[in-house]
């Protein structure tokens, strides 16, 4: 795993430590084989998964776990498609039984057009899940006030949307994202809205702990190549953050000395 070139630069969520700062989704791929290859190319250690009814009419159809293997990746079950706290809890209890993991991604959506989270319901669901023993990474709006409430309610990670899910529009509010990063003592991840490698670089440069993406890789013309690009982007952004960027100036500063000219 070469999720980071910087030796010993790891991040920890809910007591689990990871080297790769790129979490990838497993939706929208042509097939599970391409999905698995993209997750490998991304150097991911965590993948998000959804919980759905089995197809009873064809029990022999391909299953995700036969390709993207739970012994290779940490599965992060989501609550995609849930619109109430009760739906989310029911889904994640089934996920916990199916997989045996208590680390989950909570997303309680408001509306199918923009898929932005319903924060009041998200906060309520988070409290229910925490009291049920889950470790909850929370998909949220980029509102620093709600982000703080989530942290106080026991969120294991704060995961603001950079832009709507699947929109590929990149970070829409750097100011809010920066405020959330500054105030949070749990990991902050950009979740949703990344479109291309530069979006991932920017997220990491401003200090996100990791980035979560699905569509940017799955809908690229070559998902495997884009997964590799995203791996490098996340590493580059992280290293630039650690290195500390030069100040921005109004005027030029010559790189070659002006003295000693012939």
């Amino acid at each position: 795993m070469d999720g980071s070139i910087q030796q010993g630069d790891t991040w920890t969520v809910a007591g689990r430590t990871f080297t790769s700062r790129l979490i990838v989704g497993t939706g929208k791929y042509k097939d599970y084989a391409e999905n698995a290859a993209a997750a490998e190319a991304a150097g991911a250690e965590i993948v998000t998964v959804a919980v759905r009814r089995v197809n009873l009419s064809d029990p022999n159809q391909p299953m995700l776990v036969d390709y993207v293997k739970p012994d290779r990746f940490t599965f992060l079950p989501n609550t995609a498609g849930c619109f109430t706290g009760e739906d989310a809890i029911r889904t994640l209890r089934l996920a916990r039984e199916a997989g045996g993991w208590d680390l989950v991604k909570l997303e309680v959506l408001s509306n199918t057009k923009h898929l932005l989270p319903d924060m009041e319901e998200t906060l309520r669901a988070l409290k229910l899940l925490v009291s049920d023993g889950f470790q909850v990474m929370v998909y949220c709006t980029d509102d620093p006030v709600y982000a703080k409430k989530l942290e106080e309610a026991g969120a294991a990670a704060i995961m603001p949307a950079a832009a709507p899910i699947g929109s590929g529009r990149g970070i829409q509010n750097f100011l809010n994202l920066g405020l959330i990063i500054e105030q949070s003592s749990v990991p902050v991840l950009v979740d949703a809205g990344v479109g291309t490698a530069s979006d991932a670089v920017l997220a990491m440069e401003i200090g996100c702990d990791a980035v979560l993406m699905n569509t940017a890789i799955a809908e690229a013309r070559s998902p495997i190549l884009m997964a590799d690009a995203m791996k490098h982007a996340v590493i580059a952004g992280r290293e630039a953050f650690l290195a500390g960027r030069m100040p921005k100036r109004m005027y030029a500063e010559p790189s070659s000395p002006l003295s000693g000219l012939i």
Binding site: G27, R53, V54, L94, A95, E97, N214
Partner: protein, 66 residues
């Protein structure tokens, strides 16, 4: 007996427990999770959990998602 599985009514012969139902459906018990009348059935309890006529069963697994 008639069960509602994943929202669909289906008729079965006599099924003694959840393990028998999962086997009857041709599913790998290690890859699914089962809910019976809104209660999770732990995998370790499939043999001990009886099925009754009219039960509402949900059987789920992991699929791709973001």
């Amino acid at each position: 007996m008639t069960l509602t599985i994943n929202g669909e009514e289906r008729a079965f012969g006599t099924l003694s427990n959840v393990a028998a139902l999962v086997a009857e459906l041709g599913l790998d018990a290690r890859k699914v999770a089962v809910e019976r009348n809104l209660e999770i059935v732990p995998r370790s309890a499939y043999l001990q959990t009886a099925i009754a006529d009219g039960d509402r069963i949900e059987i789920v697994h992991f699929i791709g998602g973001g």
